[in-house]
Symmetry: C2
Subunit: 345 residues, 2 copies
Amino acid sequence: MAPFNPRLLSDGLNRGPRRKSAEEYINGVLSGNRVILSQAITLTESTRPEDQELASQVVHACLPHAGNSLRIGITGIPGVGKSTFIESFGQLLLERGHKISVLAIDPSSERSKGSILGDKTRMEALTREENAYIRPSPSGGSPGGVARKTRESIILCEAAGFDRILVETVGVGQGETIVHSMVDFFLLLMLPGAGDELQGMKRGIMEMADGIAITKSDSGNDKRAKIAAADYRRALELFPPADHGWKAEVILTSAVTGMGLDEVYSLLENFQESMKENGFFEKRRKGQAVYWMNEYLSELVRNRILENRDSRQYRQEIQERVTGGTLSPFEAAAMLLEHALKDRS
Amino acid sequence: MAPFNPRLLSDGLNRGPRRKSAEEYINGVLSGNRVILSQAITLTESTRPEDQELASQVVHACLPHAGNSLRIGITGIPGVGKSTFIESFGQLLLERGHKISVLAIDPSSERSKGSILGDKTRMEALTREENAYIRPSPSGGSPGGVARKTRESIILCEAAGFDRILVETVGVGQGETIVHSMVDFFLLLMLPGAGDELQGMKRGIMEMADGIAITKSDSGNDKRAKIAAADYRRALELFPPADHGWKAEVILTSAVTGMGLDEVYSLLENFQESMKENGFFEKRRKGQAVYWMNEYLSELVRNRILENRDSRQYRQEIQERVTGGTLSPFEAAAMLLEHALKDRS
């Protein structure tokens, strides 16, 4: 018997059933077993080296069975109604025979890992559906770490047979860019009658959008929604043409009446068809894979240098000059790199 | 005479007056010359190695004269009224005898470097003031690059005698986290009557805030503003206590009537006083310097590895397996690192 290790007591993976073998996880995921899918995702989120090794095997084996889905990123400012939109649109996807998976990304939480208002009551109707799989945001860590976990969740869900993956940003933060870098279609939700919003959004987000859905456009808001739609359409025309030739469309929607959801569905299908035809669908996915390879490499390398024992004392000295205010952080970084390279040659 | 180099023609630095010597920049900045301050900031934003070398000398020499300011980050969702708040609050700072500098951060722009609605008409009244210096966001580049440029701008402005530095986020994206990592006080602007907003903001941003100002709280909105303030105060109480012991306050403001701006000013002064007293002011700045040193080191190292000729072919092979879908980006990153380290030993 192994000696007593108090760390095991506080590790979630050890409180539940024993870890399975790689084959058990792989076969379970490929057969569409939701319980095992959940356990496999939990495994990818673990920080224990043994778990990471095992998770890496499982993801590697699932990779050839993944990719057969449309990955849809959904973002929008707080209060725009992301959850209710996903709840309604998710139902429509289920009616059309899709198997859907809803993942969330929240890399912005710095201090607490909880939420003020619980996540548990969100998307209640969807959680009861056989063909829907809802997974909350992986907790904390670096943006690279959150990205890795979410990308691996996408692969596992696809290998388990889900063909529409919705990736939702939670809160306001870095989530938008991360999500944009891992989906096929980027849907931006906007409130009706938001002339002010337009000004704030002048750069970045709107340009990433493959489609804009104006939420809460039902009666009472219909006039403001139409004005907003016209504003956004006008703004979209000011952008330089995207390299894939797709023009983002603006659609009025209401999660309450179901208005516009059909149109959003058609937009997604048209997008998928024409992007597969012109080769951009594959090209975008390949570019994203290389992007994440580079991002993750950077994270790994930095961890390695900072943990290098030989340079620890030099690093300490440099750091003291930085905190003492006689060396800028950027000069210091250049010096550390110089030192690390000299050290090895 | 040097041979004709067409690149020089398109380089902004060469269109204006000739580059100065390091001494001229340093003396100009330290004497508070705004024209030379602008030129020095432009120099830090240049991507030419000679300019970067020169900029590094200038920043290094200014470093001992920097730091004597309160650095205030200002963020909020699109439409909240950041520019008008800064315009009014900036006037108040000027009346109290401060010299203010307004910097902007926008790392989210991926495709275009322009803006839909021009930045030039913003803060018109402030731009006419002797003791105010307004600088738009440095263009594009990596988040690390944007951070470096903005941090160096802060140092140069402080060395030039500005004692209140306002750093504003533009658009929605990664700006909030970057700004939070380089300021002393993080002010979050919120709209009145935004119960929905609260839900979306459940993690991250609100927890970073040292203060919340509700904008547009003048008559017509006053009832909704009060309800919102109560909501936010209630939410703030749910957070775990911050390590510096400061409790974020919520203030009702109006840029039109000037309501609440005095209170925001007092809040900032109280914050500065009590954080200097308990030592957290210095501690936070030191922690930020180390954070940026690490971030920038990571960026430098990654660039170096990706440009290494010896590993280029191996990298090409790995990348093809990633884009071919038989290797995950994260496995690939681990393999590249392994290879690079083996290569050198």
